[in-house]
Subunit: 254 residues, 2 copies
DNA sequence: TAGTGGTCTAGACCACCTC
DNA sequence: AGGTGGTCTAGACCACTAC
């Protein structure tokens, strides 16, 4: 039996203390130098142990203020009800969903004409590099960066609509298009997870050790795809749900 | 302007070389000592830079063999078609789905009577800590650990069925129960991502810097929940999809 | 055996935050 | 000012892998 490396002992000990409630969410860990004494280790070794916990998403380091045990308050997005045009909405789906649970939405918005990235182009079934309309949102919840959403539209759809024009579409683009005869009759959702790119980490203010959840919805008209929406969530703050079939036995649970 | 820290320069330079194809997936990075020379840095500093790339999921370190650029070959699981009893199946959903794309499934299986964990108990609407049946799978794809699946059943359902007995149920449990009058009329899916626990990292042989994708499906009968399935995927190797509505415009795409 | 990454030490100086 | 984490050095020895 080889003994565990010292830095793992540090990580394991602290992880156990977090798990059993000795160090509740929001509390501070002892300082690195204090942990050096406790474990009789060099500072680099203690830092390696703390790094494990950061990578596991358990603690957040703050320069000059110590390490804090992370608290988890997640937002649940119901992907089945989102964009369901038969449900009552005030404004777009995001605003509706967030207000429904009594939290405060805010979004920064922009519209661009861009060459379609390969993933969007293939999903929209147009040539890659061809231009398309990008409607981009950086979304906040109670002032905290929460997710980014990029929706790509093919050029043929931009003509004769306000899609390519700057400015929010108050009723939501899905409804706006539906009212103009471009109806979304079905969609294809893809979900994946990975570590954030440096750009995503910056936009969403993601610390190290937190993955992103990427939700790609391709919306279809009766004869061709009409849009491709890529939503990137902070993995530590979000959960996505789908409802299928008869859930009357479920009651009104969240 | 403060210059970037040296270890970030190391990470950025290597990340760029990976992105532009200079270092293709499967290739080896120069050794730590070689990178020390190239960047005129101490070994610890180079290791900090490499650590960034590990955390981003871009490279995998192997003791004694160097760092390898990770290659991504993902498996796509269609959660809408999975368990759809109207589709032809040979055996359970997992086996069917994997064979459909010409890959080799393998699973290690066990059945236990356990106190229900809180998340499962609340979803099954029984008291926490009460006993339930756990059917657990560790699943491989082409010999690589791919996902774990834990399905919890309430005790009332175990009586008079083979659910609580060890051994695989060849036709799949969903069909087995349906054939015995316990029909799943709807389900509620939840998706989240996080970093793996040490146990998950061991079972799935997940390296540092790779998140897991957790898919929880609660199946409902006409009057109450009948099971809760928690599937934990390696985030680097899996993607989940959902289909809703009329997708005839989509054709037979994968 | 030689080269690789894994672990670890004992310092140093800097940048940030709180008081 | 004093404590915190952030960065960095220059070594050391061990464990694993390849040849």
């Amino acid at each position: 039996m080889s003994p565990k490396p010292l830095y793992r002992q540090v990580a394991d000990a602290l992880r156990a203390e977090i798990a059993d409630g000795t160090r509740p969410p929001g509390s501070k860990l002892p300082s690195e130098r204090a942990l050096c004494e406790r474990f009789d280790a060099a500072r680099n070794t203690v830092r390696m142990g703390l790094n494990v916990l950061i990578t596991e998403g358990l603690v957040i380091p703050s320069h000059g203020r110590g390490y804090e045990v992370r608290s988890a308050e997640v937002f649940v997005l119901n992907a089945s009800r989102s964009e369901n045009l038969t449900l009552p909405q005030e404004g777009d789906s995001y605003t509706t969903d967030v207000k429904r649970v009594g939290r405060e939405p805010h979004q920064e918005f922009r519209v661009e004409l861009v060459p379609l990235p390969p993933e969007a182009a293939s999903r929209l079934r147009v040539e890659s590099e061809q231009d398309g309309v990008l409607r981009f949102c950086l979304r906040y919840l109670d002032g905290v960066p929460w997710s980014t959403q990029a929706t790509y539209y093919p050029m043929w759809l931009a003509e004769g609509t306000r899609i390519a024009q700057a400015g929010d579409i108050a009723e939501g683009t899905t409804r706006y298009l539906a009212d103009r005869g471009i109806e979304q009759v079905g969609y294809y959702d893809e979900l994946l997870t990975r570590m954030p790119t440096p750009e995503e980490a910056r936009d969403l203010q993601i610390g190290p050790g937190v993955p992103v959840l990427v939700w790609t919805r391709t919306g279809y008209g009766s004869d061709r795809p009409i849009r491709c929406t890529v939503t990137t969530f902070r993995g530590d703050l979000n959960r996505i749900t789908f409802e299928v079939g008869d859930l009357s036995a479920r009651g009104g649970q969240p």
